[in-house]
C-alpha cells in the first residue's frame, strides 16, 4: 500500500484543574481505577480509561468532562497532568486523521497482558445495535469483585503448536453475574507487581453465550492465549494469561465486570451477522454463534444469516476448529484463512473476504451487523477488502460504512 501513514488520534479524557475541587468523587466512582491524584491534581490515566463515563454524572463541578483530540503518541502523561494549573488548549487536528474515542474503544480484550485499549483505527459504533439486549455493566468492581470457581480449563490448540490457547470455564454458583455475547470481564491476578502494588485487572472477552457455557448453568467461558512475548517478540511472561492458563479446576478467581455496552449482538431474528476475527478475537464471535446455534437447534425462528471469516496460522492453532466444522452450512457461511499451511499459499482473512466478495456485499446491503476482532495488523487489510468488494458491486463503501457506524452496526476491536 502506498497510502501515507495515517496519524492515529485519541480523545483523551482530562480533568480541568481550575474547576476541580478535589472532592475525590471521581476517583471513588471510577470502576477501573483510571483516576488518581497527587497533592495537586486529580488526573485520568490514558492507559486505563475506557471512556465508560461513570465519573461524569457524580462530578459536582463539571471539571471532569473535558476531552482533547491529539495524536496517540502525544497523549498527556500523568506527570504532565499533575503539573497543570489549567487545561492545555485543543490543538488543531489534521482533517484526514482517524480518531478513536475511549467510548468507542472499550477495553475488551487482553492479548498481551495488561489492560488492552482497543487499538482500532477504523471508525466503530459507539452505540449497540437497536435490538441488543440491555447489558448489565460494572456490577462488580475492584473494590467488590465476585469470586468464581474454575469449572474447567483445557487447551484448545494442539499440543505441538507454539500457540497455547486455553478454554477456561468459570462458575458463579448462586451469584448474580449476567453477561451478554460481546461483553468482557476483568480478572484480578493474585499477588503484587514489581512495585509491590496489587495487579491491576486484566480484561477478557467472554466466549460463551448469555445462557452460559453449559446452558442453564451460571457459568461462562474465556478464550485465553498464554502470552510469552510482547508485540515486538521480546520474551515477556504475561501475568494475567499465565495465571489463567495455569488454573486448576476448583481454584477460585476474583472477577470484575461485566463490562461493555456497545459491542453487543442484535437480538431480532432477521438480523445478519458478519464476523471477522483472528486468534482469540474469536471469543465474542463464538459467543454470538453459539447463541444463534442454540436457537437454531431448538427450531426457533431465525431468518438472519451468519457469515464468519476466521484467520489463524494453521488449523491446529485455530481455537474451536473442531466444533466449528460441525456447524451446518445452512446455519453459517464459514471462511477460514490459514497463513502457515505447508504447501499452500498464505491466506489471510482479507483474502477470503475478497474471494467471497459477492456474498459479502449481498450481506452488507441487508439488515447486517459487522463485528471485527483480532490483531491490529488485520484491520487495514480487512477494511480495504470490504471497500474493494463494495466497489466491485457498485456500492459506495464510505457511505455504507458511515451509516453502519452511526446505526450501531459496525463494531471493531483490535489490539
Amino acid at each position: 500500500m502506498n497510502a501515507p501513514e495515517q496519524i492515529v488520534l485519541i480523545r483523551q479524557h482530562l480533568i480541568d484543574p481550575e474547576v476541580c475541587i478535589r472532592c475525590n468523587t471521581c476517583e471513588e466512582t471510577c470502576p477501573i481505577d483510571a483516576i488518581t491524584h497527587d497533592s495537586r491534581n486529580y488526573v485520568v490515566d490514558p492507559a486505563i480509561c475506557n471512556g465508560c463515563n461513570a465519573c461524569i454524572s457524580p462530578c459536582p463541578t463539571g471539571s471532569i468532562d473535558h476531552w482533547r483530540t491529539l495524536p496517540r503518541t502525544a497523549a498527556y502523561s500523568l506527570e504532565e497532568q499533575f503539573s497543570w494549573d489549567e487545561l492545555p488548549v485543543q490543538q488543531e487536528v489534521p482533517e484526514d486523521s482517524a480518531v478513536e474515542t475511549p467510548a468507542e474503544t472499550a477495553v475488551e480484550q487482553a492479548l498481551a497482558d495488561g489492560m488492552q485499549i482497543n487499538a482500532a483505527v477504523s471508525p466503530t459504533s459507539a452505540i449497540a445495535p437497536w435490538s441488543a439486549a440491555h447489558p448489565y455493566i460494572n456490577l462488580y468492581l475492584n473494590k467488590n469483585p465476585v469470586t468464581a470457581t474454575v469449572a474447567g480449563n483445557y487447551r484448545l490448540t494442539a499440543a505441538d503448536t507454539e500457540s497455547d490457547i486455553h478454554h477456561i470455564v468459570l462458575d458463579f454458583g448462586n451469584q448474580f453475574f449476567p453477561i451478554l455475547e460481546g461483553q468482557s470481564i476483568g480478572i484480578i491476578p493474585p499477588g503484587v507487581d514489581e512495585n509491590g502494588k496489587p495487579h491491576y485487572i486484566r480484561m477478557y472477552s467472554v466466549a460463551s453465550p448469555r445462557s452460559g457455557e453449559r446452558e442453564g448453568y451460571n457459568n461462562l467461558s474465556l478464550t485465553v492465549k498464554r502470552v510469552v512475548s510482547d508485540h515486538d517478540g521480546k520474551a515477556v511472561r504475561g501475568v494475567g494469561s499465565n495465571y489463567l492458563c495455569d488454573l486448576q479446576k476448583g481454584e477460585q478467581v476474583q472477577v470484575t465486570g461485566p463490562f461493555g455496552a456497545n459491542y453487543l449482538m442484535p437480538n431480532h431474528a432477521g438480523s445478519n451477522i458478519l464476523m471477522i476475527c483472528t486468534g482469540t478475537g474469536s471469543a465474542p464471535m463464538r459467543a454470538m454463534t453459539e447463541h444463534r446455534r442454540r436457537m437454531f437447534a431448538k427450531g426457533q425462528p431465525l431468518d438472519g444469516k451468519l457469515m464468519l471469516f476466521f484467520g489463524a496460522r494453521t488449523p491446529e492453532e485455530l481455537p474451536y476448529f473442531g466444533p466449528l466444522l460441525k456447524l451446518p452450512p445452512a446455519f453459517i457461511d464459514m471462511h477460514l484463512a490459514f497463513s502457515r499451511q505447508p504447501d499452500q499459499p498464505r491466506a489471510y482473512v482479507q483474502d477470503k473476504i475478497r474471494e467471497a466478495g459477492a456474498a459479502v456485499t449481498a450481506l452488507l446491503g441487508g439488515d447486517t451487523y459487522v463485528y471485527i476482532c483480532g490483531l491490529k495488523g488485520m484491520e487495514a487489510g480487512v477494511m480495504e477488502a470490504l471497500r474493494e468488494a463494495c466497489s466491485a458491486a457498485g456500492m459506495d463503501w464510505a457511505a455504507v460504512h458511515a451509516k453502519m457506524v452511526k446505526e450501531g452496526r459496525f463494531h471493531v476491536e483490535t489490539y
Binding site: 484543574p17 481550575e18 472532592c23 462530578c59 463541578t61
Partner: protein, 475 residues
C-alpha cells in the same frame, strides 16, 4: 440493592416496607421532620420550583438526576451505597473480621454517640443558612443553596435511619432530640460550637461550605471506614452529595476573588477602602473571614489528644481518612505522632502515641486539603497580576478546643500576650465593621444570568445548563 423505591412514603433502598416496626417509627418521625423544615428550613421558599439533583438509584448512572422540584416536596429518604458482601473491618482490634451488620453490644454507646454528633451537624447547617435565600447573589447561587439545604436534610434522615433501625428506644429519643436542638439556641444549642455560629452573609456561606463542609468530607470519610457496615454505606453515599457543597464554597470564593481582582485592575487600586467604594469585597476582609472559618472548623476535629478517638479506632468504629489506602499495620499500637504544645513561651512539637492523637491526624489531613484549595484561590489573584496572597493561619490560631483553647497565638504561629492579641484581633478576624460592610452588599439578585456586583458569574452552569438558565422558578 441500588434502586430507590419512590413509591413509598419514605423513599429508600433498604427494603423499609419489609420492616413494619421501623417503617412505622420513621413515619412517626417524618411529620416532625417536616414541621422542623417548615420552621427552620430556608426562609420563604415554599412553592419555588428548584432545579434539584435527586438520586433515583445509588449507582453512578442514577444518583444525579436533575429536574425542577417544588419546594418543599423534595423526597427525603434513606439511601445507602451498594453493599460490598466481602467487606471486612479494616483496622483496630477486630481487623480482618467480617464487617458488622448489627451493632456490637459493647460498642453500642460509642457508636450512638458518634452518629448523634454527626447527625446533629446536618440540620444545624440548614438552620444556619435559613435566611440566605433572601440575599442570594444570583438565581444560580440560590439554586445551589437549596440543593445544599435539601441534602443536609437528607443527611439527617440518613443518621436518623441508623438511630431508629439499630438503637431501639434510645435511638428514637436521640432522633427526636435532633429536631429539638437548634443552632445558636441559648437553652438547647447544637452539640458542636461551629454549628452554633451564624452564617449571616454569602461570603460566610462560601467560607462555611468550603471549610466546614470539607470537615464533613473528612469526618464522613473516616466514618465510611467504620467496621459497622450500615454506617459505612450511609456515609459513602453522603460523600457523593457532600462534594457539591464544597464545590459551592470553593467556586464561590474564586468568583468573589475574581470580581474583586477585576475591579482592582480596572481602576488600578489596591487600598481596601478604595476597593470597598466600588462595591466589592476587599482582599484583607476575605483573609479575615478565611482566618475565622478555618480556625473555627479545625476545632471540630476535637482535642489534640483524645482517649475517645483511640477507643473509636481500636474498636473499629471510626477509621482514619483513606484508611485502606495507608501502608501501616492499621493497629497503630506502636506508632507515634507529633502534636504541638507550648514550652517556654514557644510552640514546640511533642511525640505522643498515635492512637491518642487520631483527632490531630485527621485534622492535619484536613489542613493539607484545605491549604491546597487556598493555593487554587491564589491562582485567581496570580492570573490577575495581583501580589496579594491568601494564607491559612497557623493551626494554633484562635482555637477553642484542646491545648490552645486558653492561649493567644498569632496567625503566623507566635505565642503572644493578651495585649498583643487585643491590639491586632481586628486585623486577624472579621470585625463588626467588616461584617456590616459585607452585609451591606447583600441584596437579592434572582433574574437568570444576572449577578450581584460583588461576585463574578460561574464559569459553567449546573448539569451543563447555561449560566442564565432558570434554576429557580418563583411561580
Amino acid at each position: 440493592m441500588s434502586t430507590i423505591d419512590y413509591s413509598e412514603k419514605i423513599p429508600n433502598n433498604v427494603n423499609l416496607s419489609e420492616d413494619r416496626t421501623l417503617q412505622r417509627a420513621l413515619e412517626h418521625w417524618q411529620p416532625n421532620y417536616l414541621q422542623w423544615w417548615r420552621d427552620m428550613g430556608p426562609d420563604g421558599s415554599n412553592g419555588f420550583d428548584v432545579y434539584l439533583r435527586t438520586a433515583i438509584n445509588v449507582t453512578p448512572e442514577g444518583w444525579a438526576n436533575f429536574d425542577h422540584v417544588k419546594m418543599p416536596d423534595y423526597r427525603w429518604g434513606i439511601f445507602l451505597a451498594q453493599q460490598d458482601e466481602n467487606r471486612k473491618v479494616n483496622f483496630g482490634e477486630h481487623k480482618g473480621e467480617s464487617a458488622w451488620q448489627e451493632v456490637p453490644g459493647e460498642h453500642r454507646a460509642n457508636l450512638r454517640r458518634m452518629i448523634v454528633t454527626q447527625g446533629d451537624t446536618e440540620p444545624a447547617s440548614v438552620e444556619q443558612q435559613r435566611h440566605l435565600g433572601l440575599t442570594a447573589p444570583s438565581n444560580y447561587d440560590l439554586r445551589n443553596l437549596f440543593q445544599i439545604n435539601v441534602e443536609e436534610g437528607r443527611h439527617l434522615w440518613a443518621m436518623v435511619y441508623l438511630l431508629h433501625k439499630y438503637f431501639g428506644r434510645d435511638g428514637r429519643e436521640e432522633a427526636e432530640a435532633l429536631l429539638q436542638r437548634n443552632s445558636g439556641d441559648q437553652d438547647n444549642p447544637r452539640i458542636l460550637e461551629a454549628f452554633n455560629e451564624e452564617t449571616p452573609d454569602w461570603l460566610a456561606f462560601y467560607m462555611f461550605t468550603y471549610f466546614t463542609d470539607r470537615d464533613g468530607k473528612f469526618q464522613l470519610n473516616a466514618l465510611s471506614e467504620s467496621g459497622f457496615d450500615p454506617l459505612s454505606r450511609t456515609c459513602r453515599f453522603m460523600l457523593t452529595e457532600e462534594a457539591h457543597h464544597m464545590f459551592v464554597g470553593e467556586s464561590g470564593i474564586s468568583r468573589v476573588l475574581s470580581r474583586t481582582a477585576a475591579i482592582m485592575k480596572q481602576h488600578g487600586i489596591e487600598d481596601p477602602e478604595e476597593v470597598r467604594k466600588h462595591g466589592v469585597i476587599d482582599l484583607p476582609t476575605i483573609q479575615r473571614y478565611l482566618n475565622f472559618h478555618f480556625s473555627v472548623t479545625i476545632d471540630l476535629f476535637g482535642a489534640d489528644q483524645s482517649s475517645n478517638a483511640a477507643t473509636f479506632y481500636s474498636t473499629g468504629l471510626k477509621g482514619r481518612y483513606e484508611e485502606t489506602k495507608r501502608d501501616d499495620d492499621h493497629l497503630l499500637k506502636n506508632n507515634q505522632y507529633k502534636i504541638l504544645d507550648i514550652a517556654n513561651g514557644q510552640l514546640v512539637e511533642r511525640e505522643v502515641p498515635m492512637l491518642n492523637a487520631l483527632n490531630e491526624v485527621l485534622r492535619d489531613d484536613y489542613i493539607r486539603d484545605s491549604v491546597a484549595g487556598v493555593a487554587r484561590w491564589n491562582r485567581v489573584l496570580e492570573k490577575a497580576g495581583l501580589a496579594f496572597r491568601l494564607v491559612t493561619p497557623h493551626k494554633a490560631f484562635n482555637r477553642h478546643i484542646g491545648t490552645f483553647a486558653s492561649q493567644k497565638i498569632s496567625p503566623d504561629g507566635r505565642v503572644i500576650s493578651e495585649a498583643e492579641w487585643a491590639a491586632n484581633v481586628r486585623n486577624w478576624l472579621p470585625s463588626e465593621e467588616d461584617r456590616a460592610y459585607v452585609a451591606s452588599l447583600m441584596g437579592r439578585v434572582v433574574e437568570p444570568g444576572k449577578m450581584a456586583n460583588w461576585i463574578a458569574p460561574p464559569p459553567v452552569g449546573i448539569n451543563r445548563q447555561p449560566v442564565d438558565f432558570e434554576y429557580v422558578r418563583f411561580n
